[in-house]
């Protein structure tokens, strides 16, 4: 990644005659705003639209987790059901099935039944419905991915814009802080922070985050990726600062705050919007990795990472427990990335965001 400008400055949103990519509007067609133009581009992108639909379906399914759990499956996704029973082909069978043959060693959770009302995807090692936990797990994975992406982008805007606009000592200090943070391998840093904070929670002034709270992985993941977003933003702002419209504002005596809010921020917002789905995807994968290592979402809560962890010991006998959340992660991550690419193309077709970061 470079420190230099990575984006051609996008046109000011308040300039109605320019496209988001800074290209002149074509022909005599009625003037459209850059956002509307970008949306039109996005709508024409079938891959991006398909990805958005997939994402919407995943989100909708996850939001309906309680409905599935209570009204369809009739189970409790968070309570052990090791001694429970269920119906398969009209017959009552134990959820945890003891091996009857030979020496009678081992107890295996029931496998996928194909029946949404009775352990559609089988049971996990605690006898809980994998399908119900998959939906609840998706809620947590997506929540953590999305909120940490928002947090990450917000912090990155604060740091990147300040460093890029003010330059000098402010830039020096903030850039070195970013350098130090980015010098750590991302996963190693996340694991270290998780291990420490999961023991005692986090207290930042008046704000306290409990050890088992979902806010903890949100904070950790949001923090560690700040340099990933902040550094391109800093470069972009450094470039913007030399533009005529900024210089004229300075010359007109506008305050720094006014210039930042009215001139700079509107020009970095498209970049941030491009980053959001990408960061959501990356953060969701990070959350899954941390949860898989038992240092993310804590039981009995579920995330796709914890469910894969639950299935790890059942790979030989009940692979569906690990494969189902793995597939969910893959589908969602691909959809988010394709949507992110579509948004990038729509807002800034000349940008080489991926290459830059």
């Amino acid at each position: 990644m470079t420190d230099g400008p990575t984006h051609a400055p996008v046109a000011r949103p308040e300039a109605p005659s320019a496209s988001p990519a800074g290209q002149p509007a074509s022909g005599p067609a009625p003037a459209t705003g850059p956002w509307r133009t970008a949306l039109r581009h996005l709508r024409r992108d079938r891959v991006a639209m398909g990805s958005a639909v997939v994402l919407l379906l995943v989100v909708a399914a996850c939001l309906l987790a309680p409905v599935y759990e209570k009204s369809i499956a009739g189970t409790d996704a968070f309570t052990s059901n090791v001694n429970g029973t269920t119906l398969v082909d009209g017959q009552e069978v134990p959820v945890m099935q003891a091996e009857a043959g030979g020496l009678g060693l081992g107890v295996t959770p029931i496998g996928p039944t194909g029946d949404p009302a009775h352990y559609l995807l089988g049971a996990d090692p605690q006898g809980r419905d994998v399908a119900a936990r998959l939906l609840y797990g998706g809620r947590n994975s997506l929540f953590i991915g999305a909120v940490s992406a928002l947090l990450c982008c917000a912090l990155a805007v604060l740091v990147g814009v300040s460093a890029g606009y003010f330059g000098g000592v402010v830039d020096g200090v903030l850039s070195r802080v970013l350098d130090v943070l980015w010098a750590f391998p991302v996963y190693l840093l996340a694991i270290c922070l998780s291990v420490v904070l999961l023991t005692s929670g986090l207290t930042l002034g008046p704000v306290t985050i409990d050890a088992g709270s979902l806010a903890l992985p949100v904070f950790i993941i949001g923090l560690i990726y700040v340099p990933y977003v902040a550094r391109p933003l800093r470069g972009q702002v450094m470039s913007l600062r030399e533009k005529e419209f900024i210089q004229s504002s300075v010359g007109a005596g506008a305050s720094d705050l006014r210039i930042l809010l009215r001139e700079v921020l509107p020009n970095v917002v498209p970049t941030v919007i491009v980053f959001l789905p990408l960061m959501t995807s990356i953060n969701m994968l990070t959350e899954s990795a941390l949860s898989f290592l038992s240092i993310g979402v804590q039981p009995p809560d579920a995330s796709w990472g914890t469910i894969i962890n639950d299935g790890l010991g059942l790979l030989y006998t009940r692979p569906a427990v690990a494969i189902a959340p793995g597939a969910a992660i893959a589908v969602t991550a691909v959809a988010l990335n394709l949507l992110g690419d579509g948004v990038r193309d729509a807002l800034d077709p000349k940008a080489k965001l991926r290459g830059a970061v």
Partner: protein, 579 residues
């Protein structure tokens, strides 16, 4: 003893055993017969030892373990992994019989010619050393070696120096200043007579057991006065350690200077070489044994391979009950379990049948309600916390548990269940947390690394409310469970070595245990009856919730024969046939 590698951290925490034995104050001699469960000592060789069959001599036995077991020093290492191998490499003055089943609890003379009758009111034992025995390096075993070996227990700060061997005269000074340990007046050698005299501060009914474990191995007097680490020390057993690389393998070969002197104590082995390779996953090790590429999987078999092993490979699997139990220690000194009703509620609520399933099913574990495991001296079937109450556990009583939680005024409190982060421990922890939530607590399971969990839950600084732990016998005596795990002397606040994890200290119960220890010197059966009462009283106080007693699976290659399971030290590795 703990089964896993981190057991070495147990260190000197089991202070209660010898300390209290030393305080027992009896004056009679130890009995030659044990309780009805086969414990005790025998002056003669056990009669159940299988004769040697030279037709099966030879070959290499290949064992696979996920990781090495730490130091190779027999006076420092405290893991089952190497204690099993020490049976074929080192000897003490006495030894547990190398035999199948209950006979293995019998102590027989090893380097000593016989087990002496104690004198001086049960406080003095005079052992006569056998003549003509050599170490694997060719040097003769002398009285000086024996004396030096006892001194070395303290010099290397053996994990049991302060517990098992603190009753020897002079031990206090050795514990205080190990480097200058002489055990003056405690262990005295007479080279001319070929005798070693052990003087105790007070009679100890369990001293012969303590002399039969690897920490009391006889080593050359020039053995290093610190942990030998990966460097093998010469021994007297049928095998010697030839090489040890904790990242690769441990290799045992025949001791060229070994001649069988007492088959019950140190039998000649069958394989020419025993190799334990490290580094493979347990899954890979299971597959290797299935394919005939290895002979034994040391580690516990993964849950999802059990079914296949129990059916397709049933003739290669051996399942044996262990004198051990898994339990939930509850900290009686901090909320919510400083409340008796809260502790009793946990005992009523835990679903032991579910725990059995999570462990691998009813053929691998059984529910328990007492601290002394079934088949152990002093054990009496009794279950106060079952629905209905009876001799054995039937079902949990959630309603009663909920009622007790309400009455205790602790409902709604947050509770963390601290467990190891392996598959089985985590699953049981989650199940317990789920149960606690059902009866009114806000409970979560907190898995932490198996390398630190055992010490973490012992230290009161960590304010652990409830945890999951295991205990496997060191030797067959009730005190090894009750007095070690619940004796007042075993509770050491703010220490990583406070094996009384619950922090339970009941003066009346302690007095009873002291009485049983003293009585054991003269009448073990009467003592066991007192231990049974202690067990019942302790369970009423509920500082623990016993869960299950486990079984062990030995999964062997198809070519392996002559399997024998010592209840004391588990599978007799040197007695296996590979051809």
């Amino acid at each position: 003893m703990r089964l896993s590698r981190q057991s070495a951290a147990l260190a000197g925490s089991v202070a209660a055993v010898a300390l209290l034995a030393a305080c027992s104050g009896g004056s009679s001699t130890p009995t030659a017969s044990g309780s009805g469960t086969g414990t005790g000592t025998a002056a003669a060789d056990a009669g159940t030892v299988r004769p040697f069959d030279p037709a099966h001599k030879g070959g290499t036995f290949l064992a696979l373990a996920k990781a090495a077991g730490g130091t190779l020093d027999p006076q420092v290492n405290y893991t089952l992994q190497y204690w099993q191998l020490y049976q074929a490499t080192y000897d003490g003055l006495v030894a547990f019989t190398k035999a199948d089943g209950e006979a293995s609890f019998t102590v027989v003379p090893d380097l000593a010619e016989s087990i002496p009758a104690p004198t001086n009111g049960g406080k003095t034992y005079v052992f006569t050393l056998r003549k003509g025995i050599k170490f694997s390096d060719g040097k003769d075993v002398t009285v000086d070696d024996v004396v030096a070996s006892f001194q070395r227990i303290y010099k290397v700060s053996s994990p049991t120096a302060g517990s098992f061997y603190s009753g020897i005269v002079g031990a206090d000074a050795c514990i205080k200043t190990p480097k200058t340990c002489t055990l003056e007046g405690g262990v005295v050698g007479d080279a001319a007579a070929g005798t070693v005299t052990i003087n105790l501060k007070a009679p100890d009914a369990e001293i012969l057991y303590k002399l039969a474990v690897p920490h009391a191995s006889v080593l050359p007097k020039d053995a290093p006065a610190q942990d030998a680490g990966t460097k093998p020390i010469a021994g007297t057993g049928a095998y010697m350690f030839e090489s040890y690389d904790p990242n690769k393998a441990l290799v045992l070969k025949r001791n060229p200077n070994f001649t069988e002197w007492n088959r019950a104590a140190q039998p000649e082995g069958y394989p020419d070489q025993i190799t334990m390779q490290f580094g493979q996953t347990v899954e890979a090790a299971v597959t290797a044994v299935q394919n005939g590429q290895a002979d034994w999987v040391f580690d516990d078999i993964p849950a999802d391979r059990l079914g296949e092993i129990g059916t397709t490979y049933a003739d290669q699997a051996h399942v044996n009950a262990l004198t051990a139990y898994w339990y939930l220690p509850m900290n009686v000194n901090i909320p919510p379990f400083d409340n008796l009703k809260a502790r009793q509620a946990v005992n009523y609520a835990v679903d032991r049948a579910a725990i059995v399933k999570l462990f691998g099913g009813s053929n691998l574990a059984a529910p328990v309600c007492t601290i002394l495991p079934p088949g152990f001296p002093g054990h009496v079937d009794d279950c106060q916390y079952s629905k209905p109450a009876g001799a054995t556990w039937t079902a949990p009583d959630l309603e009663k548990a909920k009622q007790l939680v309400q009455e205790s005024g602790t409902a709604g409190q947050e509770v963390q269940v601290i467990v190891q982060d392996d598959e089985v421990n985590k699953a049981i922890g989650e199940n317990v947390a789920s149960t606690l939530t059902q009866i009114g607590y806000k409970a979560t399971a907190k898995p932490i690394s198996g390398n630190i969990q055992f010490t973490y839950i012992q230290n009161t600084k960590n304010k652990v409310q409830i945890s999951l732990s295991q205990w496997y016998q060191d030797y067959p005596a009730a005190s090894d469970f009750l007095n070690v795990l619940l004796g007042c002397a075993s509770f050491v606040p703010e220490s990583d070595s406070s094996i009384n994890i619950a922090g339970y200290c009941n003066k009346d119960v302690q007095a009873k245990m002291d009485e049983a220890l003293a009585l054991g010197v003269t009448d073990q059966k009467a003592a066991d009856a007192i231990w049974a009462q202690v067990d019942k009283t302790v369970m009423t106080d509920s500082p623990q919730a016993p869960l299950i007693t486990p079984k062990k699976i030995d999964f062997l290659g198809k070519r392996v024969g002559n399997y024998q399971f010592s209840k004391q030290f588990y599978m007799l590795v040197s007695q296996l046939w590979v051809q």
